[in-house]
């Protein structure tokens, strides 16, 4: 087990290096730092001095990968690649283009993201599985048919409309909760309710359908027939046998996104003004802050790879048949 985890850990390293090189190429080779400076300073009437100053302030005035003028090992360390990309591996995100410490910002902003994302995941999971079980229980009846029709309908609505509709109905028309904003501590509750509701609602259609497929697949298996044959009631079969066995595919889907919950939901957070990492990313995109976007790309990849690792480990915990060597 430990061996496996260590091996998986080492397997993740080349992937992270790949991500790192890709982002480096994307951000520094496709466009030169000069282009970025010109974009950031406004396209017209930019003096070369202003560009140099902008680059120097942000450390973009070094050579890309090889510094011929430096001495010794600094030939490689005194470069953009080392400064901006290699340091990401030790979570040194450096400064954003507007001069803020990205690491500090990330530490501050990941908790509000989690406050939104975790309830959405848990409540969503509970509702989706409940309804999916219900639909699976009434399979091949009109309840099933119309349930699936409803799911497909809900799936076909853009998540933006759920947000707009929720804000309009709950926030504006009924005045139940504030439309957007955030506060620390327990006051956060009234700001969190609506985004969580909207988040759950927008995922319900595809969620129910997905879990229904899993349940139906499980119900076609032999052990279910055996359970019925020995006289178990349908609800007992469903809850005791099908649900337990369906946990394996359900778990795969859930565990892999657990670490990514810190990254937050871009659209939801920016609509509701939650100061999380999602709205941080959106703001960075709108302000064209390349340093933040670069850091978020790398952070997202790390969290995703961590999710894959966790998935494999959790497999062994719930399914004794799976042995990791």
């Amino acid at each position: 087990m430990i061996n496996y985890i260590i091996r998986r850990f080492f397997y993740a390293i080349p992937i992270l290096i790949g991500v790192n090189l890709l982002t480096f190429a994307l951000f520094f080779v496709v466009n030169t730092p000069d282009d970025m400076a010109r974009m950031n300073l406004g396209m017209k009437r930019v003096t070369p001095e202003a560009i140099e100053k902008w680059k120097h302030e942000r450390g973009y005035d070094k050579p890309l990968v090889f510094n011929g003028s430096a001495a010794g090992s600094e030939k490689f360390t005194d470069t953009i690649f080392y400064d901006k990309s290699v340091k990401l591996f030790v979570f040194e995100f450096g400064q954003s283009d507007s001069g803020r410490d990205i690491t500090y910002d990330i530490k501050q902003r990941m908790w509000p993201s989690l406050v939104i994302a975790l309830p959405i995941l848990l409540i969503g999971l509970l509702t989706n599985i409940t309804f999916a079980l219900l639909v699976a229980f009434f399979r091949a009846t009109y309840i099933d048919f119309w349930g699936v029709v409803l799911c497909v309908t809900l799936m076909s609505i853009s998540s933006l409309f759920y947000i707009i509709g929720g804000q309009y109905l709950v926030g504006k028309l009924w005045h139940l909760v504030p439309i957007s904003g955030y506060e620390e501590g327990f006051d956060a509750f009234k700001f969190v309710v609506l985004p969580v509701m909207v988040g759950v609602a927008s995922g319900i259609g595809s969620g129910i359908r997905w879990y229904r497929t899993i349940f139906l697949e499980e119900m076609g298996k032999d052990y279910v027939r055996t359970a019925r044959a020995k006289g178990l009631s349908e609800s007992l079969v469903l809850f005791r046998h099908v649900l337990k066995n369906a946990m394996i595919p359900i778990l795969t889907g859930v565990v892999v996104i657990l670490p990514l919950l810190f990254m937050g939901n871009l659209v939801l957070e920016s609509f509701f003004g939650i100061p999380g990492l999602g709205s941080y990313t959106i703001d960075a995109i709108n302000m064209q802050d390349f340093a933040i976007v670069r850091s978020m790309v790398f952070l997202g990849s790390i969290l995703y790879i961590l999710g894959l690792l966790l998935t494999d480990i959790s497999y062994t915990l719930v399914d004794p048949r799976v042995k990791l060597a």
Partner: protein, 503 residues
């Protein structure tokens, strides 16, 4: 031999038709513009037509499609999707209008506006620009303005629109009557058009099935045909009625109101259809060669090729999609801003950004299909018939082309149709995030985004949202239902999960 003859004749007919078309078109006094996405759309259409012609000659390819055609929900979705497709194609033929000859120069000058056939057909709606917001079917602006009266005094009132309801003398009293009249007339027109369509369809069916027209009519109306023609007729009836209603009414009113700068919202939604379709289809077209090649190569050759390909797609898929798209689009923005000389017109610029968005969406979405194909190719290479082919000394590429590729095509097809609706939805979100299509391009995402800023307005401006919602919802819903039907027909293993399997 007969099949070859038919294919030959179809190809000949198509070729001569296109030559005639090009010939006729060259006489038109406009300059045609082929944007990048236009060209790709036409290539895609040609591929679809070619595949359809090929499939119609091969029973094993035709059978699953017949299954789709038997599915009632499926055919309704197909009818709606074709309506969208027609609008999208009309919007993909671009040209530049000639300018009136003012300088007496010998060379004809062309306008800088790139128009499409749809723009040209909707000229009154396109040019009927008001001053600002107006509600659906309104005859007055939505905001008060100070107007000078003839006697020199000023009043604040809702001024009349220049185009919407301009034919009415007294909108308060005449408007509802006028709308009702137009609607009734449209319904009558629609019924006539539909009756003609039905008659043509049934007489065609009667000839095809060697029955009398009245007999065929009875069969269709009672739903006794293999393909549910009565459902198709009902759907087209609804579509034709709606189309005629909308065409007649939008000539007189802004049926979905106008936006901030007074542009007709309905026209914008129609234009957005092309954007949605392009993103939904071209993305797949762009990524398909890579996904198929890499997936099959990894699964078939194993070894080093497998390791490299797996490494590439794991790396790509470990970057969260939105972030990768955001990074790439940001870089594209910088590139476009520093190289303005590359783009002749604003339309070409917006178009290239759309194409690039498709490419980057394709880069982020090919990994799933690639993984599926790798698994399937690994399974297939152990099959007896492929082992036999290897034993006979058939080359690798021949085996892949002849045995593996045809056997994974159903997976490719299912993933294409499943991805479509997700991509249309993704466009809206990406435009909101600020990394979607060009802000000047009509798209549902841009419509929602600009309408969102007016949410705080009192009274609320709701019609751009409603228009975008309806058109997007119908497209995505039809695509979802169509995808279900296709999946049920092509993947026997999943047959239980679809809608039809419920009953």
């Amino acid at each position: 031999m007969a099949t070859k003859k038919i294919i030959g004749r179809t190809a000949l007919a198509l070729a001569s038709a296109s030559v005639l078309l090009v010939f006729a078109v060259s006489f038109l006094p406009v300059r045609f513009v082929v944007l990048w996405t236009d060209a790709l759309i036409f290539i895609l259409c040609a591929m679809c037509v070619g595949f359809a012609a090929y499939a119609s000659q091969h029973e094993h390819l035709r059978a699953p499609w017949r299954e789709v055609a038997r599915d009632r929900v499926g055919v309704v979705a197909v009818v709606f999707l074709s309506a969208y497709l027609v609008i999208g194609l009309l919007d993909s033929v671009h040209f530049r209008m000639p300018l009136p000859d003012v300088k007496q120069s010998t060379e004809q000058q062309y306008s800088n506006d790139v128009l499409s056939v749809l723009d040209w057909m909707a000229t009154p709606v396109r040019e009927g620009v008001e001053k600002s917001y107006s509600a659906p079917f309104a005859a007055h602006l939505y905001v008060k303005e100070t107007v000078d009266l003839p006697d020199g005094s000023k009043v604040r009132l809702y001024p009349r629109l220049q185009h919407g309801g301009a034919h009415l003398n007294n909108p308060e009293q005449e408007r509802s009557g006028d709308i009702l009249n137009t609607s009734l007339l449209s319904v009558i027109e629609g019924v006539v058009v539909w009756a003609v369509f039905t008659a043509l369809l049934i007489s065609w069916l009667a000839r095809r099935h060697h029955r009398s027209v009245s007999e065929m009519f009875g069969l269709v109306m009672r739903g006794r045909t293999e393909i549910p023609w009565h459902v198709i007729l009902l759907t087209t009836a609804i579509l034709i009625l709606l189309a005629i209603l909308v065409v007649n009414l939008s000539g007189k009113y802004h049926i979905f109101g106008t936006d901030k700068v007074g542009q007709d919202t309905f026209y914008q939604t129609l234009k957005s259809i092309r954007t949605g379709l392009v993103i939904g289809t071209l993305t797949t077209l762009v990524m398909l060669p890579f996904a198929i090649l890499a997936g099959i190569a990894a699964g078939y050759f194993r070894g080093l090729a497998d390791d490299v390909i797996q490494y590439v797609y794991t790396t790509l898929s470990s970057i969260p999609g939105v972030l990768l798209i955001a990074a790439a689009i940001l870089m594209l923005q910088v590139y476009m801003a520093t190289h303005p000389e590359l783009f002749e017109t604003a339309a070409a610029r917006a178009d290239l950004r759309l194409l690039f968005l498709c490419i980057i969406l394709g880069v982020t979405s090919w990994t799933g299909l690639c993984r599926l194909l790798r698994g399937e190719a690994m399974k297939l290479r152990e099959m007896d018939y492929i082992q036999a082919a290897v034993a006979f000394g058939v080359g690798h590429f021949k085996i892949i082309g002849r045995h593996i590729l045809p056997n994974v095509m159903h997976i490719v097809l299912i993933s294409i149709v499943l991805d479509f609706s997700a991509l249309v939805l993704a466009e809206a979100v990406l435009s909101y995030v600020g990394v979607g299509v060009d802000p000047t391009m009509n798209s549902w995402g841009n419509m929602i985004n600009s309408a969102r800023l007016e949410m705080a307005r009192e009274p609320i401006v709701w019609w751009p949202l409603l228009a975008a919602f309806i058109f997007m919802f119908v497209l995505v819903l039809s695509a979802n239902l169509f995808a279900d039907a296709v999946r049920d027909a092509f993947d026997p293993r999943l047959r239980r999960s679809g809608l039809r399997a419920c009953l």
